[in-house]
Symmetry: D2
């Protein structure tokens, strides 16, 4: 099966490497605005460089992987759907809710396979937590606590175009809320502050947030997020249920413990998402091509992408307008 | 120094035992509405049974410990202050904010020593976290996460007179928020549900809550609380700071770990507050009598009790009226 | 019940404090070679100072607690047994095996209650491990690993009169081997080195040892011991069984965890035996007086004391003579 | 660089997969006594099936990877060395010490690169421990505790030809002792029992061992080994040093923790060596080809293989003859 990859940046390279491990998959095209990056990635995997028109017009291409910048996602989804390609698209679908919904419509009309890359669902620890929760190990879930902190803030230039912390960073957490609890939000409340760098506030954004969600069935979710955790990438989930609690903890590079006269020390968590989610990236790619091959359902639909964006949008408004948002 | 104890119930017995260990302190009177409980506790510690009038009229009594039911606290504080006694009073000061403020006024006018028994501040683990935070170990604190879950709900009859979950249970968490961050709340948001027992909802209360606080300086606090954690008494704090994170974890009865073909298992946390906070109860009593002896300041004033109640009141209103409360 | 205490040093003070908490027990006499220490301890607990003759001649004294220096144990045991007193004696019975056996004979002939203070058996974590092992939780035990390390070496002057590391320090570990596995040794092998302080070697002793024991039923035990673990008092047990493993870990003063850019850190273990085994000291005293009161069996007999000494003796010879000792 | 692989079994497949990831390396031949296994592995990696004569006679083959059965190692090493090939050989060099020494001679005379596959040295956790130890983090090492337990015993048919537990299983631990402490043994003592399956005893072997080693510099090492740990593959190291302790713990498949009314549970360790050491296998192959490419030294020489075998031999004799072996 011939595949085209849009985007030759950091995340595009990860997908290219995982594509190369899928049996029966051949990377035919790489498309990116940087000629150098495109050429290098294409060469590395024996693919050709191309522009989107020719890729979408090549009927031998059955699937596209969209890992280009966020502002190109919607257009590529709509055009790829129109061309009948199966689509794997990085999160988010778009920063604008209306445009995201149009993508969902386009996918629906075209009847093609489309999966959104919320990679965290495929992390071995988080997936195991979800499976055990669904097996009834702790009874009925009642409360979900999400801790989601990056090791450090990206450049302010990035933040300016990011859509704000709720759409850029918490979009993952909103998806995980829906994934873990399997319910939809009724109310969303978000508060936040700019505590790590005044330049972020000047850019109209915040770096520290607390979000509370209540579902239609009355379940409760709290999310705490920071752009800066100096000890590493902090990604944890905790579900309190009627018969117990499940926690998903961080992963450490090694299991060395050091005992000195002052403290017992272990490794800090993995540095950032490339290290933390390397297995997750591999698994999501395998699941996408598995779904394409068997014409089966994908684990994360474009509607899931829209739902996460709705929550991010609601949280943004809750914070900006200082009110509780009812969905 | 002669001391009188009001309350011969569960918490009164703990205080009596800790009183007995204070050097130079003699328990002279025990006062309680149950003649049997009063007599037994008095006998055990060589004290006399009495009624409040005679206790407060005995000029040899220098201090009183109030561990009777919540609805008696305000009256006993005002009368004890009027009689010039040093006062240790269990939390809360009162369920009603106005009455609590009147207690603070009475204490202030009388110029006597008055300490409120927010025992958690004296837990070795929490006290160590606070000390290390103040030493600058993790830089400037930015975010506080409080997990506070009881092993099981009290009888609904108790809940009916409890003032609601925010005044009965979260009052401790509100005090710990103030203690740890050392700042005052600007906004409070609370949501909640009744998830463990419909009878609690019928009594007009909830059993599961999520609270978000933003301080005047922009720091963020999230509290999650449940009346039921089947694995034990779950009391944790986590502070994210500019240079790191401090966590205060649960305490286990033993350090046995069991490895079987299915899992690696350790003990569940201590069962409930009597086990978890036994050291804290001893320390708070020592600190109270130390302050009385040296006419020094108490670590928790009646104003602290009022402030915690203000937060509980705000949270109650936020939940009931579905709005964000600005203090 | 009137009790006499021999020894007003560090360990004598601990026993005095625990004696004071036993219901129905009155400390009548304190005996020690230091008049000041004797007087102070006697005064603190309302006892009299005395010499051993008068104590043993006072028929109102039903029990003695021997916490004086090791070289006085055997004599006091024999004389107290002769006087019909119940005896609690600190470990070891004696440094000389023959003298220890004579104590056992004296106790046996007198038919009195005699308990040896191997305090570690009463540590909550170790006692829980033993109980769970006996319940069959990990099937049949096969291998026992004992880690036993002091935070720092005592003065060389102490070491010179200690009987050597095997009788002074590992005597506890040999008792715990017998307690946990419930079997007797067939062969003992010990090796060692002086690694922490050359003065210990000059005194004819070592500070680091590894011991292997094989029981008559073929079970295996390894003990590793050091006079110096700079991170604190390291006392761990691990039992591998046919259906799992049980570990007994160290206890930490607090449950604070610190996350910085370099490491995740927790507390070092409790500093030394007074902190680590405070609960164990209280429990052993309660069990001794419980046995005396009910004329029941004691959990650790003088024969147990002899058996532990036999193992220490065998290990000493194995190390000194560089051979495997068969018992 | 063309490479030949001897052995198409379990371990041969792992090496083939890692070979395929080395840049500039081409697997030209697969040699195995099973035609089916050979053909399948050759086909999977685009290699040819061959017999050893033609492989060693092909001058385009620069390196061989020996992963065939132990009894073929020595012959293949000697012949490959004679043919001037660089050699990667699975442990052990041979079960017979004299034959192993002849391999070392052959390698030395031929002046070729030869690395022995003691994979554990490359485990990220163990390698990090070694690096930190060498950096002086805990001062001078004094004592090493090795825990090495398999999840279950292999078939007795395998055990019969294994050379016994010391040469088959502890050979790894002996290599790790040398790797971590960087010293040579002076005395070795080994005891053992057959506790898991009487058939192992009937085959003349044991399944549970305790080994003590004292180095020429007086450092101490204890190894405990079992053929059966029902909770998984248990591989731990602990080094006590003059200024602290370093521990290398097991790795868990996920970081999920479950809290129920009975226990707090986490995952059991990885199931067995293929899971536990997958990263180590990849790293050792990369290091071997790195050394070949740069004509540099290999991290584990054939002399290291001989030394580990000497220790296994000494331990076997210590156990069989019930005596302490001085090397």
């Amino acid at each position: 099966m011939n595949v085209a990859l849009f985007g030759a940046g950091r995340i595009g390279k990860i997908h290219a490497a995982n594509l190369a491990r899928q049996p029966g998959i051949s990377l035919k095209y790489v498309v990116d605005i940087s000629p150098e990056a495109t050429a290098e990635l294409a060469r590395q995997y024996g693919a050709q460089t191309a522009v989107s028109e020719s890729v979408l017009g090549d009927s031998s291409v059955k699937a596209v992987v969209i890992a280009s910048s966020t502002d190109t996602h919607a257009d590529l989804i709509v055009r790829s759907a129109g061309a009948g390609k199966a689509i794997f698209c990085e999160k988010p679908v778009d920063l604008d809710l209306e445009r995201a919904r149009k993508c969902a419509d386009a996918v629906s009309k075209a009847g093609i396979t489309c999966m959104i890359g919320f990679n965290r669902r495929f992390d071995p620890t988080f997936a195991a937590l979800k499976k055990r929760l669904d097996s009834g190990e702790i009874g009925e879930p009642e409360m979900l606590i999400i801790t989601s902190r990056d090791p450090g803030a990206p450049p302010v230039s990035y933040i300016k175009g990011s859509g704000g912390i709720f759409k850029d960073m918490l979009i993952h957490d909103f998806d995980m809320f829906r994934f873990i609890l399997g319910e939809e939000a009724e109310t969303v409340y978000a508060a936040g502050s700019c505590l790590t760098d005044p330049a972020i506030a000047e850019a109209g954004d915040i770096d520290s947030t607390v979000v509370s969600i209540r579902t239609r069935q009355g379940k409760l979710c709290q999310i705490n997020t920071s752009r800066r955790a100096v000890y590493g990438y902090d990604q944890r989930f905790e579900v309190l249920g009627s018969q117990g609690m499940l926690q998903a903890g961080n992963v450490r590079p090694t299991e060395v413990a050091s005992y000195t006269s002052k403290a017992v020390s272990t490794d800090v968590p993995e540095a950032f998402f490339l290290e933390r989610y390397s297995a997750a990236y591999a698994t999501e790619m395998a699941q996408f091509f598995g779904a394409v091959r068997e014409s089966g359902p994908v684990p994360i639909t474009v509607e899931d992408g829209v739902k996460a964006l709705e929550l991010a949008d609601a949280a943004s408004r809750s914070w900006a307008e200082k009110k509780i948002i009812t969905l």
